[in-house]
Each structure stands twice: as structure tokens, then as C-alpha cells.
Symmetry: C2
Subunit: 221 residues, 2 copies
DNA sequence: GACCGCCGTCTAACAGCGTTCAAAAATCCG
DNA sequence: CGGATTTTTGAACGCTGTTAGACGGCGGTC
């Protein structure tokens, strides 16, 4: 122990003050991001909104991407909360499955900035350079939590674990595709209601589960 | 006619020389983009690769985005070619549908730079500011061409036009979602083979078409 | 009570970006 | 060749994320 702690509670208090300032900056980032968009949100604008000089942000975060990464963590946490709440409001497995998947879809449909953040990651941003490998672990963990009710619902309806996993993957991909294609508003095929498409898709998958034990067979061909 | 054409073939020759230089620049952009990625490809790098000074590019293109937009046009053209070729290699409607959809998927799975370009648009890039409204028309038209064989196959299998349209939309969204989620390689659920997932999904939809006349009912509920 | 050291922030600057503008070079035509 | 037009250039602008060094203030030690 090269450092002799000067006083017991000191480090902890420092830490909590530091955390508070990080949250202050993240809040400013969220506001600027909300009004300017992800690409339009400059570090200087975020710093100004937080009452700081740009350089000061580098004391609290390693980079601008680190701020985005932390915002994504928060976003995924809110997503998981929304999905779990929606699932818990239903009693029957089929209802829980549907509610969870629709809540996932609705979360991103109604919060385009969270969608931007997610797409930023998917498009290759937030590379784990200095962000640490742990970031990816957290990301996958949060995603697993948010999607868990879908798989659980499928298993409760009689699907094998493998079939349930495949259904989760399919629903996830379908939702992401619908969200992305609707998002720009410039692809004519997707000017129609995306939620309707999502509902229709889900209804069919649940019906398949109820009927045959699997909407799509896990052995193909 | 305020401009008196000095000689008949002159404007045409100018035009063709200009087109040639545009293609030269687009080729340089494609190469730089291939090795540096969309975000890493700077205008100065593209200009250097083409043997130009950055400012010279602005004589041939309105902006960097205009270069990207033109690259996207070319990309969508190649996509349509690949899809139509794959469909034409099959005789039966079901085979044509499957081949077209799988070719669409494979085109982007095997050409990540084209995928980047497409996602750049979906993420909000290539806004029709100075790019002109005509860009969006061309974009939608190219997409319609590339996806036409899927809808045609569905109708040949007995689907109503509306059901066929919905199937195209669904397949499109599913493919885009799978491509996007696989693309980063950082979402653990999608480390498995995306083509397999696409095939499985397609098989089921085609089976639904063959069985009931519609894989997913067009009246939901 | 004066001093030292660290923490948090600021000022100033860097290199890079897309873009613009006036001037120069190259090209073409009569 | 002369003059007009089309292309290209060099230099600059304002923006971006980021870094280095200096500065004030606060906590703990002598």
C-alpha cells in the first residue's frame, strides 16, 4: 500500500462528487444530443451546456466516445426496465412474450435518440479501443436482460431452449430492421405503420408456437 | 437561347470528358473507401488518390455527400443486377423468390462497404439538401427493382398483391436487421451464421405461401 | 499559521476535417 | 496568335476532437 489513506471517508466522498459531475455532464450531453442529434452534438456544445470548458470534460471522460458509450449503457438500462415492466403487466406466457417484444419495439420507435445511439454502435462506433473490453460485456448483458422475457415466454409456451433462442434472435432482427428502415422516412415501402408490421409478425410467431411447438423449425429444409 | 453553341459536337464532348473525370474520382473514392472505411475516407485522401487537389473535386461534385450519393446509386445498381441474375437462374416461382431474397442478403453480407453505404443513408446521411429530390426517386426506384422478383415470386405462388407487398417488406426488414446485427460482430447472439437464419426464415415464409396462400395473414388478429 | 501536493479547471494550441474563393493554368475556337 | 471558357490550384476559413501546461483552491502535514 504505497498510498496511506489520509482519512477514511475521503476517497469515497471524492468519488461521489466525481460521479455527480459525470452525471451532470451526461445530462448536458443528453440534452444537446436531443436537440442537435448525435452528429451535430459537438464536444464544445456539450461542455458549454454543462458549464464547462471542453478540456474539462477530459478529466471526467477519456474521450467523446466514452461519453457516448456511457449514454448507451444508460439507454440499454432504460430499455430493459421498459421491457420488463411491460412483460410483468401480463400473466399469460403468450401475452408476456408479445408485450415484451412490442415494448422493445416501442421503446426505440418512441425514442429516436436512443435508436441513433444503438445504430451508432451497430454501425461500427464505440469500438473497444480505450473503452475497455468490459464495455462489450455490459452491452451484451443488458441486451440479454432486455430480451430475456421473449425467450422465457417462448419456453413457457413449450418451445425448446434452442427454439426459444432462435425466436429471440428472429424477433430482435425483425424489429431492428423495421426500426431502421422506418427511421429515415425516405424509403417508400416503409411509410406505412411499422408497429402494425411488428404486431403482425409477432402474432404469427406466437400462433406458430401455440400450434406446432415452433413457428419456424429449428432444423431447416 | 442566350448561349450560341460555338460548334455542334462541342458540348457533348465536354460532357463526356467531364463524365470520365467524374468516374475517375468515383473510382478513387471507392478505393480509398474500401481500405479506410466510410468514416476514415477523407476528401483529401480521395483527391490524392485521384491525382487531384481537394478543391478540384468541388468542380465535379457539389459536396462529399454528393460523391457518396453517387456511389450509393452505383451500389444499388449492382445490387439489382445481382438479385435479378440470381432470380433468372431459377425456373420455379418459389425458387425465384428464395434465390432473389438470398442474393439480396448475400450481396450485402459479402460487400460490407456497400452495406456501410446503405446504412449511412438509413442512419440519416445523404439528406436531400443540395442533392436534389430526384435522388430519393432513383433510390426508391432502384430498391423497387431489386426487390421486385420477391414480390413477383410471391404472386406467382398465389399471394394477393397486397400479401406479396407485405412479404417483400417483411423479408426486406428481416434481412436488414440480420445484416446490421451481424455486421459489428460484437453482439453475441449474432455470432452464429446469419445466412442460416435468413434461409430458415425464407423457407418458412415460402412454406406458408405454398400451404395457406399467405405466410402471415394480411388481416391481423 | 505557513507550506506542499493534488484535484479540477482553464487557456492555448494542434492537426485534421469539409468547404470556399480568387487567381492561375490549361484547353478550345475563331 | 488572341480571347473566352473550362479546370485546377493555393490559401484560407471555421469547425471538429484532443492534448499540454499553467493556475487557483482545498486538505493534510509540520
Amino acid at each position: 500500500m504505497p498510498l496511506s489513506p489520509k482519512s477514511p471517508g475521503r476517497a469515497a466522498r471524492r468519488q461521489s462528487v466525481g460521479d455527480h459531475k459525470r452525471e451532470l455532464i451526461l445530462g448536458a450531453a443528453r440534452r444537446v444530443f436531443e436537440s442537435e442529434g448525435l452528429d451535430g452534438a459537438s464536444l464544445r456544445a456539450i461542455a458549454a451546456e454543462a458549464g464547462y470548458t471542453p478540456a474539462a470534460l477530459y478529466f471526467h471522460f477519456d474521450s467523446k466516445e466514452a461519453i457516448y458509450a456511457e449514454m448507451l449503457d444508460i439507454s440499454l438500462g432504460r430499455l430493459a426496465d421498459a421491457v420488463l415492466a411491460a412483460a410483468d403487466a401480463e400473466a399469460e406466457p403468450a401475452g408476456r412474450l408479445r408485450a415484451a417484444a412490442l415494448a422493445f419495439f416501442a421503446f426505440y420507435a418512441e425514442n429516436p435518440r436512443d435508436l441513433d445511439l444503438g445504430f451508432y454502435l451497430l454501425r461500427g462506433g464505440l469500438k473497444p479501443k480505450g473503452l475497455g473490453r468490459a464495455r462489450d460485456e455490459r452491452l451484451n448483458a443488458a441486451l440479454a436482460v432486455a430480451l430475456a422475457p421473449i425467450g422465457a415466454g417462448a419456453e413457457a409456451l413449450g418451445a425448446t431452449p434452442e427454439a426459444a433462442r432462435l425466436l429471440v434472435v428472429d424477433v430482435f432482427a425483425h424489429a431492428v430492421g423495421l426500426l431502421l428502415l422506418t427511421h429515415t422516412g425516405r424509403i417508400r415501402m416503409f411509410e406505412a405503420s411499422a408497429p402494425d408490421l411488428m404486431r403482425r409478425y409477432l402474432d404469427e410467431r406466437v400462433r406458430g408456437l401455440l400450434a406446432g411447438g415452433a413457428g419456424l423449425p429449428d432444423g431447416r429444409g
